[in-house]
């Protein structure tokens, strides 16, 4: 293995964004036929480096060598011409097109006549060869997320990729699907393909990677160390630059009175199809109820209905004695009902407004922020200084636009705003998605603090480890129904995985 030829080499890559040095003379090399994990916190420069390799960004300095030859990529097409393809976290597929149609999308040949039947045959053959069967005539939106990912992999193979860059490929998969993916990846390396695996999940890195390169703040802190023998703690220290506590300390306490009661709730998704089909659940004071499930099984819709962003089509939900429905005055309820939305920048904050202005989003209509018809700018400023200090939000000033903040700090702004309203119920949707280890730790600590303080917390997450660590009870959602409910302590991850895939546990 160690004397395998190099698949590619990046030398002294420098990539600058205004105010940020994303890659600071980074060297990175992969051997043919290995799985090489690129590990790092968010904002460490992993994605930037790989976007350079995939031809999306041009570096200010540095060379890319494939087969010993220096190359310049102007577009992803150039990169793929040299056998380097990237699979992004958000799939680049056209949902209404078939698998085969997606294969040829963006290719500039054939120029006129498209022999789709032939493409379909090729895709089928390729799928069989790599044990990744998909129906080439299936439309993308009919496929599960795992299948869509397979299509993305096939697309890159179809284009002749020898090196596959995968950006956090496991984020949307069930544990079983992750297993299948790892199996495929190993199979591909056997056939001489090289995989670059971007991740910040240490367990996965240890499980799949042959070697690991760690980035911290745009610099390499460990270059190609063997993954076997590395411990999670070592890797985490390399990543964060200090020791990380994986243990979460929760107070043992009996749950209090029910705060959120949901019964037989149903709702539709954006396409008008049923997304929730009779969800019933209860969250009590001082309790974290974790909702596990593969993305797209109604989690987002559940959170949206409970926070007034989507109308339900049946059933009911109450917060204490306040019904949550079409007649709810959400602005009034807002302080009692904290919401950490799935999409921090598109829903949870206003990018073009300052940190201070974002911190009053839920309380601008009440004293002390509001005084009569006007907003008391001194109170806004004081509120912001207080929260920035209390929650250690790293921002140049409270007047900085929030879109300039990193993901972790943006999440802190949202948490500070939501928690400081002393909520009775907190709905947190993927609260640590895309956050680095340090920020994740902070978010977890804050959630547990709220629970210990007597708040009811509905935690929706696709990270099973997170759910198991934080939640008191776990419910599994599948196709808009809760198909299992169990205490988190002693829950079997294998059983949960099966339930996430729709299999009810035999009891």
């Amino acid at each position: 293995m160690s004397d395998a030829p190099q698949a590619f080499e990046m030398r002294g890559i420098v990539k600058r964004f205004p105010g940020v040095l994303a890659n600071d003379h980074v060297d990175f090399a992969c051997r043919a036929g290995e799985v090489h994990a690129l590990l790092g916190e968010n904002g460490a420069g992993k994605s930037t480096l790989m976007n350079v390799l995939a031809g999306l960004y041009r570096p200010e300095a540095g060379d890319i060598l494939v087969g010993g030859q220096p190359l310049t990529f102007h577009s992803p097409q150039d990169a793929i011409a040299h056998g380097i393809g990237m699979i992004h976290q958000h799939f680049m597929l056209v949902p209404s097109h078939t698998v085969a149609e997606n294969m040829v999308l963006g290719l500039n040949r054939p120029r006129f006549f498209l022999d789709l039947a032939r493409v379909e045959e090729q895709v089928k053959a390729l799928g069989e060869q790599y044990a990744m069967q998909v129906d080439p005539r299936a439309r993308i939106w009919d496929l599960s997320v795992g299948e869509q990912q397979r299509v993305e992999v096939l697309k890159m193979l179809f284009r002749g990729a020898k090196v596959l860059i995968m950006d956090e490929p496991t984020a949307v998969l069930t544990p079983q699907e992750v297993e299948a993916l790892f199996h495929t990846l190993r199979d591909m390396t056997q056939r001489g393909h090289t995989i670059v695996f971007i991740s910040h999940k240490l367990d996965e890195v240890v499980a799949i990677a042959d070697r690991v390169t760690v980035l911290r703040r745009g610099k390499v802190t460990a270059a190609g160390v063997p993954a076997r023998g590395a411990t999670k703690a070592q890797l985490a220290t390399l990543m964060v630059g200090r020791e990380v506590l994986f243990q979460i300390h929760k107070k043992k306490m009996p749950p209090g009175a029910p705060v959120l009661t949901v019964s037989n709730l149903s709702a539709e998704n954006d396409r008008g199809l049923p997304a929730l089909r009779g969800v019933s659940l209860q969250v009590c004071a001082g309790e974290i109820l974790g909702i596990a499930g593969v993305a797209g099984n109604g989690q987002s819709e559940l959170a949206e209905v409970l926070t007034g962003l989507r109308r339900c089509t049946g059933g009911s939900a109450t917060l204490g004695d306040t019904p949550l429905d079409g007649a709810t005055r959400w602005q009034e309820v807002g302080q009692k009902l904290a919401h950490i939305p799935e999409d921090r920048s598109a829903v949870g904050s206003v990018g073009e407004l300052s940190v201070a202005d974002n911190l009053i989003l839920k309380r601008f209509h009440k004293a002390p922020i509001a005084s009569g018809w006007s907003i008391d700018s001194a109170a806004v400023h004081a509120n912001a200084l207080q929260l920035v200090d209390d929650y250690q939000i790293a921002t140049p000033s409270v007047d900085t636009l929030v879109r300039m903040l990193s993901g972790g700090n943006l999440q802190k702004v949202i948490l500070a705003r939501e928690i400081s309203g002393r909520p009775a119920l907190m709905i947190a949707v993927h609260p640590t998605r895309g956050l680095d280890v340090g920020a994740t730790e902070t978010v977890h600590k804050l959630l547990v603090e709220q629970r210990d303080g007597g708040a009811a917390i509905l935690l929706i997450s696709e990270d099973l480890d997170e759910l198991l660590a934080l939640a008191d009870r776990l419910a599994v959602i599948y196709e808009g129904r809760i198909i299992g409910d169990m205490p988190a302590e002693g829950a079997d991850i294998h059983v949960i995985g099966l339930m996430m895939a729709g299999t009810k546990a035999e009891s």
Binding site: P59, R109, Q331, D357, K362, S374
Partner: protein
């Protein structure tokens, strides 16, 4: 990355941050570039660009010598010396600036919420129509001027408000594109007004006009005070500009200091976050369109009170100039005061210039460049010498 001997390529990259100076620079750049482009057109039309611009400036604002003589005359309480125009052009410019300022503010408040109201023209027409109705047909001639003008203002505001709220309602409840509805409603308003003054009930005989307003329904002008202050003689400036400045100050407070302004800014920047915070987005769409229409309606009242008559030649286009003023002012109501003043000068200064379309052309080019440069500031451009791109691998095409 610079490889000698290879062709240059233009590199375009997205900027992550928008530099703070971008707004002011693109506004100034817009004006300068528009003047350069206009210069070529003037040249092609056979005029000398530089001297034409000098002439436009003189006609629109006067010369330093004029201002100096004017100030001296003001302090010595004498009339403007013969052969000089003193404050004449400035006064005319203020007259032109007031409707532009009001329609500009109308656009600013709507644009702040990403509502593209391009119907300020029609809303202004409805305001003019309603104010005329009050002045000529509803209230007696002998009404106290303050009450008369106040009632006209109220009528103008209310009719503009309703005329703006209609597309607002359609947008909020039925999600009908306000660009189309406001644009189309302009033509409805043009024809509505034409019906009343040309063929319909308000036309006096064959004059296609309502006839002159009673004196109580017209703005007082500076020249009316020429007996006390001789320099005012012949000056047409009226309180309309004060109305505009007051509206600008109130709007600035509303947008940047009030609770409602905060809601408008949140909705304008991120409607999803607004709904997340429990802000009623639909209601605010209607309210903002109503306020936008009300400001344009006030512009209409202001204009008829200055013209003293409503006829078939009531000018179109102030609403569209308002769009340009709003962009050039970067949607800042206080900056709009300055921009409206400059545009008033442009309109006055180009009145006598041939070819006639010069001011419209300059306005168009300014808007084009301002909107264009705004897009440019989102990217970073540079020239680089690089190796030619490699073609797609042949195996894919097989």
């Amino acid at each position: 990355m610079n490889l000698p001997g290879t062709p240059y390529r233009l590199m375009v990259e997205t900027r992550r941050t928008n530099p703070g100076w971008a707004g002011v620079v693109s506004s100034i750049l817009g004006v300068v570039l528009a003047l350069i482009v206009g210069g070529f057109v003037l040249k092609a039309a056979g005029a000398a660009p530089i001297s034409t611009y000098q002439e436009i400036f003189k006609e629109g604002f006067g010369t330093p010598a004029d201002w100096q003589a004017g100030v001296v005359a003001l302090f010595t309480n004498t009339d403007c010396p013969k052969g000089l125009i003193c404050f004449g052009p400035l006064s005319d410019t203020l007259v032109k600036a007031s409707p532009i300022l009001l329609t500009g503010l109308a656009c600013i408040v709507a644009f702040r919420m990403r509502l593209w109201n391009i119907g300020a023209d029609g809303q202004m027409f409805m305001g003019a129509w309603a104010a005329t109705g009050v002045a000529v047909f509803l209230l007696p001639k002998s009404t106290n001027p303050v009450i008369m003008l106040g009632a006209m203002g109220l009528a103008g505001v209310l009719s503009g408000l309703i005329y703006g709220a209609i597309p607002g309602y359609l947008r909020a409840r039925l999600n009908i594109n306000e660009i189309i509805t406001t644009l189309m409603l302009n033509y409805v308003a043009y024809n509505w007004l034409e019906y009343f003054v040309i063929v319909g009930p308000w036309s006096r005989g064959d004059f296609e006009s309502t006839g002159n307003f009673p004196p109580s329904a017209t703005w007082p002008r500076l020249t009316q005070f020429a007996k006390a202050i001789p320099i005012f003689s012949g000056l047409t400036a009226h309180p309309g500009i004060l109305l505009g400045v007051a509206a600008a100050i109130i709007l600035a407070w509303l947008l940047f200091r009030s609770r409602w302004g905060y809601e408008i800014r949140v909705i304008g920047n991120n409607p999803k976050a607004a709904r997340y915070a429990g802000i009623n987005v639909s209601r605010n769409i209607i309210l903002v369109m109503a306020l936008s229409g009300a400001l344009a309606g006030l512009a209409g009242m202001n204009e008829v009170a200055a013209l003293r008559v409503l006829n078939g030649r009531f000018a179109r286009g102030f609403g569209f100039t308002g769009v340009i003023v709003a962009w050039l002012a970067r949607l800042n109501p206080l900056a709009a005061i300055l921009v409206a003043f400059l545009f008033g000068g442009l309109l006055v200064g180009t009145q006598l210039i041939q070819p006639q379309g010069i001011s419209s052309m300059l306005q168009g080019v300014i808007l084009f460049v301002v909107v264009g440069t705004e897009v440019m500031f989102r990217y970073r451009f540079r020239l680089e010498r690089v190796a030619p791109a490699v073609s797609i691998a042949a195996e894919v095409a097989k």
